[in-house]
């Protein structure tokens, strides 16, 4: 018997599409070749890290430039802990907590102040992290790098295991971020972003709210880093440098940080671009920079805002009439 869906036929169609999409994602290892599956893993990991940016950049309107650094912290911590004999899930959560702790230390002074202090403090942190990855040879292997032990789920091959891990974490993060957005945190963050001075009169502490968002964003970054390590299978410090930061900015801005689908759209663009431009070095950065500039100039709310903007445009001719009437 087919399940019954509540609401309108349109809503039922939406549920059916989501169900079909979910089934395709679950069956993906059997549908595409390993190379495409690997690219899909990267999309999920990148989008997960991007969801962290939705919290901090989209909802609280703060510019955080350390997501690549948090990814590195997560990747190295998990790899180290697993090598010490920890089970992978526990190591990953711990890595997330370590990243969140680093986030609090950086954010604590910066979130009390005007927005751009966080941008500067996080940029300095990201730069420092690269040095730490180079210097902390016992943990990170320094410039030579360190190999990552692959997690293999029972009964599934390495590629499939990696995919299901990435999919599961991306799904859990998406649900968590959507729920947080609907419930208290998302609303509190938007109040702080749009009316910081008024927020305390609503019983909202701007500093505590921003700091919580930043810590969560760092946690998500750390967990995404653990998955990123699984994708790369070998970690070196320069993986987490300025280039990755710029990819995240392209992702955040092109996808649209205000929306939960934004990071997924952005992640697809970034992963495809990386694949297309991988041997082109400086050209890659030039293209990223130009895309970022054009996106800011012409699509300030990202790809995810396109449907709403197109709808507005279709309605646009009516506007002068109503304006004249009122």
């Amino acid at each position: 018997m087919p399940p019954t869906f509540p609401g309108s036929p349109r809503r039922a169609a939406g549920w059916a599409a989501a169900l079909a999409g979910g089934l395709v994602l679950l069956a993906l290892p059997g549908l595409v070749n390993p190379y495409l599956l690997f690219q899909a893993c990267l999309v999920m990991v990148t989008a997960t890290a991007g969801l962290g940016l939705v919290l901090i950049m989209g909802w609280s309107g703060q510019i955080a430039l350390a997501q690549a650094g948090f990814l590195g912290v997560g990747a190295y911590t998990t790899t180290y802990l697993v090598a010490q004999g920890w089970p992978w899930p526990l190591a990953t959560v711990t890595a997330g907590l370590v990243a969140a702790l680093a986030g609090v230390l950086i954010g604590l002074p910066a979130t009390r102040l005007r927005g751009f202090y966080l941008a500067i403090a996080t940029l300095a942190f990201a730069e420092l992290m690269i040095r730490v990855f180079v210097e902390a040879v016992p943990v990170t292997g320094g410039i030579a790098g360190v190999a990552v032990e692959a997690v293999v789920l029972p009964g599934i091959d390495v590629d499939g295991s990696r995919w299901y891990l990435c999919l599961a974490v991306a799904a859990v993060t998406t649900v968590a971020v959507v729920r947080a957005g609907r419930a208290g945190l998302g609303r509190r963050l938007r109040v702080v972003r749009d009316a910081e001075i008024a927020a305390p009169s609503l019983g909202i502490s701007p500093m505590r709210t921003k700091l919580l968002a930043f810590a969560l964003s760092a946690f998500i970054g750390g967990v995404a880093g653990a998955l990123y390590a699984q994708c790369l299978s070998y970690l070196t410090p320069e993986i987490f440098d300025m280039g990755l930061l710029i990819e995240f900015l392209v992702l955040a801005f092109l996808g649209g940080v205000g929306y939960v689908v934004g990071p997924f759209l952005g992640a697809i663009v970034v992963v495809v671009l990386r694949d297309l431009l991988q041997d082109l070095g400086s050209w890659q950065r030039l293209v990223y920079g130009l895309i970022l500039a054009l996106a800011i100039a012409f699509l300030p709310r990202g790809l995810a805002s396109l449907p709403a903007r197109l709808r507005d445009r279709r309605r646009a001719p009516e506007r002068p009439v109503t304006a004249a009437a009122s």
Binding site: L108, F116, Y117, L123, A124, L128, E196, L286, G289, A297
Partner: protein, 286 residues
């Protein structure tokens, strides 16, 4: 010890100049400019090319480089920043990052990643009380001091006063006939020239690579944070303090502690005295 302090003051002067350029743009347009160092990097490479490739003398190439710096900054302000300044603050800040990435990529594409050195007529050194002082070091410190004094004087001129008025309030000065466009353009032009001076000094005293920009940018931001982001003298002293602290830490603690000093300075200053060592408390708009 004295040797470390002198090299610290030299590097600190570059940080000061970068901080001054950042503060200048921030004061007028309220944008923390992440492209600031890159706006000096490209002109510095052009100057190197004029000397090494075109065979110009230093005395001819440096003014040309400064001119390129001014033009570049004005063009970036006009094409990338001003059209979106009304949009929102967030977009403008990210736009400066995009400009940073584009200019850096262009420098990499044209000149590659090998280090260069700008030939200057100030090679050599002299000895004072047993300490070796290079002429380059005096030039850097002197240039930092000169630019600081010039800026302090500039902010007392009618244009400088207008610039500060625009930073405080974007509407009222306009009613009194102050052109916002002129103020924005002037601040970017001056900042472009100052950033070029910083990169030129670094490029002729040590080496010029495509990475110099991002390094100086962070140091400039740290110095500006130390100085409180509103004070010209604060930015100058902040840069010198950072340079000396880094060099002493590098010599007496470990080479790798040098990078940590910058972050440590930011975190401590923001936690203890958020308005910076020289900043004034700024009331926020409701």
């Amino acid at each position: 010890m004295w040797q470390q302090i002198i090299s610290g003051l030299q590097a600190g002067s570059w940080y000061s100049l970068m901080a001054l350029a950042i503060v200048l743009v921030l004061k007028a347009t309220d944008v923390p400019n992440f492209a600031m160092a890159e706006l000096g990097l490209l002109p510095a490479f052009c100057t190197w090319a004029l000397i090494d490739g075109a065979g110009l003398s230093w005395w001819a190439a440096v003014p040309a480089g400064l001119l390129i710096g001014v033009v570049l900054a004005v063009v970036v302000e006009r094409t990338a920043i001003r059209p979106i300044l009304a949009e929102n603050h967030f977009a403008t800040v990210l736009m400066t990052i995009a400009v940073f990435v584009v200019i850096n990529a262009v420098v990499q594409l044209v000149w590659g990643s090998e280090p260069r050195k700008i030939d200057s007529p100030f090679a050599g050194s002299f000895t004072v009380a047993g300490q070796i002082v290079a002429y380059e070091q005096l030039l850097s410190i002197g240039a930092g001091l000169a630019v600081t004094v010039a800026l302090v004087l500039f902010f007392r001129t009618p244009l400088g006063v207008r610039m500060q008025a625009i930073a405080e309030d974007r509407v009222t000065p306009r009613l009194l006939g102050v052109s916002v466009t002129t103020v924005f353009r002037t601040s970017w032009a001056l900042a472009g020239a100052i950033a070029t001076i910083a990169l030129l000094l670094q490029g002729q005293a040590s080496l010029l690579t495509d990475q110099n920009g991002s390094g100086l940018l962070i140091k400039g931001f740290v110095a500006a944070t130390l100085g409180g982001f509103s004070s010209v003298i604060g930015a100058f002293v902040g840069g010198l303090a950072l340079g000396v602290a880094e060099n002493l830490a590098g010599a007496y603690v470990s080479t790798s502690s040098k990078t940590a000093i910058a972050l440590l300075a930011i975190v401590v200053v923001l936690a203890v005295k958020p308005q910076g060592l020289f900043g004034r408390h700024q009331a926020r708009e409701v």
